[in-house]
């Protein structure tokens, strides 16, 4: 063993960001049974129970089944990314963030790792619902499958930011006990469980301002043929900006203080 002072010491590339670290992070998330139930099992079960019961009905002028499948994929992905982001609250409560500050890992590399693992879990959530959908008879054009899936997945970036925002806001190990029900409520208002068209006009206008509506409408656009409405796109981008800036601010405050 060489003497301690004669080593080749370097600052790691990419601020310590590396794929092994990302892989271990994802493995940690997959191991959490509760997260898995809410992310993978629940959306699929909801799709099978509610979706299949309305198999031959139509919603918004299209078949209910694919419509609901895309909605559930959006829901699964948003719960996935929120849960991953909000897990920083647990890490902060346990002092893990402090442990990481004793390593070369720079804050932006930590954030990148979180976002990438959140999106990986989000992708998994979309895939599980889509496989269940295909297996239970959903048939759409290839481009509709691909584009709606991609939008459902990438749209969940809004909720990765939301999760991180919550994670830095709430110093609790049980952050998802609060955030989970909040997500369900937002999904209800955002037209995930039921189309917002069943609400009164006033309620519909309000619903269109809530953060789930934009990504849901965008993901279903290839199916409904409405095209990506400017309103839905603006909704998604504005909420992404709000949560993203909020998370960044809290994160900066956090790393200053710890």
């Amino acid at each position: 063993m060489t003497a301690i002072s004669e080593q080749d010491r370097r600052v790691p590339a990419w601020g310590g960001f590396n794929l092994t670290f990302v892989g271990l992070e994802i493995r940690r998330i997959l191991r959490n049974r509760r997260t898995m139930i809410f992310v993978l099992v629940m959306p699929t079960v909801l799709f099978l129970v509610i979706g299949l019961s309305q198999k031959n009905e139509s919603l918004d002028g299209v078949d209910a089944l694919p419509y609901f499948m895309i909605s559930m994929a959006v829901y699964g992905a948003m719960v996935a990314t929120t849960a991953t982001g909000a897990a920083v609250a647990v890490e902060r409560a346990l002092g893990w963030s402090r442990q990481l500050r004793l390593t070369p890992l720079v804050p932006s590399a930590y954030m990148a790792t979180k976002v990438i693992s959140a999106l990986s879990l989000g992708l998994l959530a979309v895939l599980v619902v889509y496989v269940a959908g295909f297996a239970s008879g959903v048939r759409m054009s290839v481009s509709t499958w691909v584009i709606s899936g991609l939008v459902a997945w990438l749209g969940s970036l809004v909720f990765a930011a939301f999760g991180l925002f919550m994670g830095f806001l709430l110093p609790s190990e049980n952050v998802m006990q609060f955030v989970g029900p909040l997500l369900a409520l937002l999904a209800l208002f955002g037209g995930i469980f039921v189309p917002i068209e069943i609400y009164s006009d006033v309620l519909q206008d309000i619903a269109k301002l809530t953060p789930v509506w934009g990504i849901g409408a965008l993901a279903r656009a290839p199916l409904t043929g409405d095209g990506a409405s400017i309103g839905a796109l603006a909704n998604a981008l504005v909420w992404l900006a709000i949560f993203g800036v909020g998370a960044a601010q809290l994160f900066r405050r956090d790393t200053k203080r710890v």
């Binding site: 063993m1 003497a3 301690i4 002072s5 080593q7 080749d8 010491r9 370097r10 600052v11 790691p12 590339a13 990419w14 310590g16 590396n18 092994t20 670290f21 271990l24 940690r28 191991r31 959490n32 890490e91 346990l94 002092g95 893990w96 402090r98 442990q99 990481l100 500050r101 004793l102 390593t103 070369p104 890992l105 710890v258």
Partner: protein
């Protein structure tokens, strides 16, 4: 983007201190946690930061690690800023509590952290040296306090750092656990690692440090080798009533280490109490003379308790 070599610091790798603090001050509201602390720690030293709770030990360590920003004063770690030294893997720390994820196993924890360094020691080697290779597959939440502490030590070994800081590392451990933990640290330090640990166990500082820095209310009240501190403590205190005593005159006596005058009483610290007593009684008007012995414990209490005033540091502070 590739790994950047850390390179030598301006003053050169050979001469740089492990830790250099100059006029370090930190307050929290009206509480002055660390007050004008200056010290140099040479490479290879094993230094104990000794003091009661609230003496400013953790705050000082936090500033050395860059967790806290000093209100004034400077911190240099191996010739660099704390964050540079951490990025280079030159400094690591074992924290008192927390810092571990419950859902990982012992090995996974070390493995995960090891990916973050440019070059880390093999995971199993660190587990071995921390004495936890047998419980490598245990979940962190199932580990005892002592085992978790060794896990923190294993993590701190990953970058093979030149300087390791430990904040009250044996709090909550039993006697045997404490001894095993320190044996692991001592063996490791034999390779030339600089160790700085905070403790409020006198015996721990005595047994494991080469040098003790005594802190009280955020100030250094004594700084010397363990032998010097013991010497300071092994002396006796001669107290006598001597109205109008000349402090400077008494301090000039060769056998007197330090003098304090409080009202009509003089307190003389000395290693030859008989000489001092004889001289006081024969050549001055002193009366009501008392001689008290001090042990290390007394010295610690005397130096760190609220009532006493800061004593002059013993030994060199360079």
């Amino acid at each position: 983007m590739s790994a950047e070599p850390c390179g030598d610091t301006i003053d050169g790798a050979e001469t740089r201190s492990a830790v250099s603090l100059a006029g370090l001050t930190k307050s929290f509201g009206s509480l002055v946690a660390v007050n004008d602390v200056s010290l140099e720690i040479k490479q290879g030293e094993i230094v104990a930061f000794l003091g009661p709770n609230g003496a400013g030990k953790t705050t000082t360590l936090d500033m050395i690690l860059g967790f806290q920003k000093p209100d004034s004063g400077t911190v240099t770690v191996l010739g660099r800023t704390p964050s540079e030294a951490i990025a280079c893997g030159e400094v690591s720390a074992v924290m008192q509590t927390g810092g571990l994820l419950k859902d990982l196993t012992v090995r996974e924890t070390v493995q995960l952290i090891s990916t973050l360094f440019y070059r880390a020691r093999p995971v199993d080697e660190c587990l071995e040296r921390a004495g936890i290779i047998e419980i490598a597959n245990r979940r962190v939440e199932k580990c005892s306090g002592g085992e978790q502490q060794r896990l923190r030590f294993a993590i701190a070994l990953l970058s093979d750092p030149e300087l390791m800081l430990l904040d009250e590392p044996t709090t909550g451990m039993d006697v045997e656990g404490r001894r095993d933990f320190w044996n692991a640290i001592r063996q490791d330090a034999a390779r030339g690692r600089t160790i700085m640990f905070a403790t409020h166990y006198l015996e721990e500082a005595d047994s494991y440090a080469d040098r003790i820095i005594l802190l009280r209310k955020g100030e250094i009240v004594a700084d010397g080798t363990t032998a010097q501190i013991k010497n300071l403590a092994s002396g006796r205190m001669v107290r006598a009533t001597l109205p109008g005593a000349g402090e400077a005159e008494l301090a000039a006596w060769p056998e007197v280490d330090s003098v304090e005058v409080r009202g009509d009483s003089v307190f003389l610290r000395t290693k030859s109490s008989d000489e001092v007593a004889r001289r006081l009684l024969t050549s001055t008007a002193a009366h009501d003379l008392e001689i008290t012995a001090h042990n290390l414990e007394d010295a610690f209490i005397a130096l760190t308790s609220d009532e006493s005033s800061p004593a002059s540091p013993v030994g060199e502070r360079a």
